[in-house]
Amino acid sequence: MAWPSVTRMYLVRDLVSPRTWLSFIHHFIGVCVGALVVWIVVPGLVIGMLGLPVALIGMPVLGATLRFTDWFARAERTRFAVTLGEEIPGWPAGTRSGYRLRLLPRFDKLGERATWREVLYAVTRGPLSAAAAFVSLGVWAVGLIMVTLPLFDWSLPGGGFHIDGGTLHESKAVAVAVAGVLVLLAAPQVTKGLAVADAALARRLLGPPSSLAARVAELELSRERVVDAAEAERKRIERDLHDGAQQRLVALAMELGRAKARFGDDIDAARDLVDSAHAQAKAALTELRDLVRGVHPPVLTDRGLDAALSGLAARSPIPVDVHVDMPVRPKPLIEAVAYFVVAEALTNVAKHSRASQAKVVVEGHGYPGVLAIMISDDGVGGADPQGAGLSGLAGRVTGVDGRLTVESPYGGPTIIAAELPC
């Protein structure tokens, strides 16, 4: 044989590998299970459907049948995992509709494609497994018979092996045995191949569509980023409170304490201390106000994005041109994210860009639709999308299923664009 030795090794080893025989067993279990299930599902569906005009009888029967196919789908996922090592993902929580009063299927449930796919799976389980078992068993049997032909060739009537009505001479029995070896070597591959095809089918009928699986993976990632962003934000607030207002209040209390002690003997010194404490208190107020404004400005809730952004622009140290055009007010969450994007971008512009002016454009397209935000400046560029500030922004934006793009070549200009669903 011209095959590389490694392939030969595999082919031989596959004759006795657990995977081959588990696949083999898998087909036969499938036959048994399928034969049982079909007697529950088909009568259940027929009685349920016929009884539908008489809603009281039909619905619970249909419901019980669907509950059974639900359960069967779960059981089968487990069986595939055990015998074939194939993990068929279940439907993510909350993506399927359920039942009323335990037995009455909700109407959504009856309209769901997944429901009928499970039913289809339950009905076809028996025949499909039967076919797979028949083919697997057949290949093994034919292979074994061919290999062992020289041993019993003499016993066959006519002293030879009959093929196509002709007679095979004993000398040719050896050649058949050699061909039988090839068939036997192919048998594990056929058995396993059928199992793989079976798993693919089960995945298609029992699992969520791959787009949903991808969506779930994407959501898991974005949730992680949102949690990270929220945690970073909490830390920033904690640090700001601790370094700012809290220190000021400590200083204030200290100065008032010293003033209290001085009032008796040195009234002028006491007055100076009270003056200083007064200043500390006002500074603490300013710091707290700025902090709160950075978290969520009240004007955003009261008057919307336009008013909040114009306040933001007015406080910016460099001139900012704001243009807002929205036919409808977006959801509060989207407004908050949009405000955060613009606030953070303008902070960056003021800190790093050396720009002489900036521009903010917010446009709403349709409802539900997209809220497009663009912040541009005429600065030196070179903003790093992986930096703490911008990646935090991206986290917040993807957290609401939006998209953030940063364009900032060295030499400028910088354009930060976000698209949020609204």
Binding site: A281, L285, R289, D302, R303, A307, G311, A314, R315, S316
Partner: protein, 216 residues
Amino acid sequence: MLRVAIAEDSVLLREGLTRLLAEAGHEVVAAATDAEGLMRAVEACAPDVCVIDVRMPPTFTDEGLRAALVIRDRWPDTGVLVLSQWVEERYATELISGSPHGVGYLLKDRVADVTEFLDALRRVAEGGSALDPEVVAQLLARSRSPLSVLTSREREVLALMAEGRSNSAIAETMVVSGGAVGKHINSIFSKLGLVSDEHGHRRVLAVLHYLNGVTS
């Protein structure tokens, strides 16, 4: 002595304000905890001026602001001084839309500077105006290009005028003579193309309408 009505939902601040005003020789005729209570008090006592917190029950958004607008409309002789933890140019614009007579909008922090606060309160009660420097800064910031014709000194005077201060107060703040302030004001008015023979509250009106016109 002024007759003052207070609307403030926080006990601490309500009591503090009451005490502060009493110590300054004013009479607090009513201390309400929400907008509705304030309206009833104004109806019953006809105070000279109301001190109103922006955020009050039930929604804690802009009840105070809306109450102030209603009071201005129904009792034009009563001044309204709105206090807020934050000042926003948008709220100021809503508040002074029409006329800035007897209107004030200040950060709560300003209460800590008692003399200045009482001065602002008196201005509002007398039909003048008192805008927080931070609001004025926002208004000025939003109208950068047309104001670039002014010198920095003139912009300073413009800001103080917009806050609602008199010539003598402006002169005192900037540590210059009253005549110098007058000269600055004439120059500002001619540069911005405003009628310069207006005085007092009418002058504030002109300035604010000018700023408002270029911002909105």
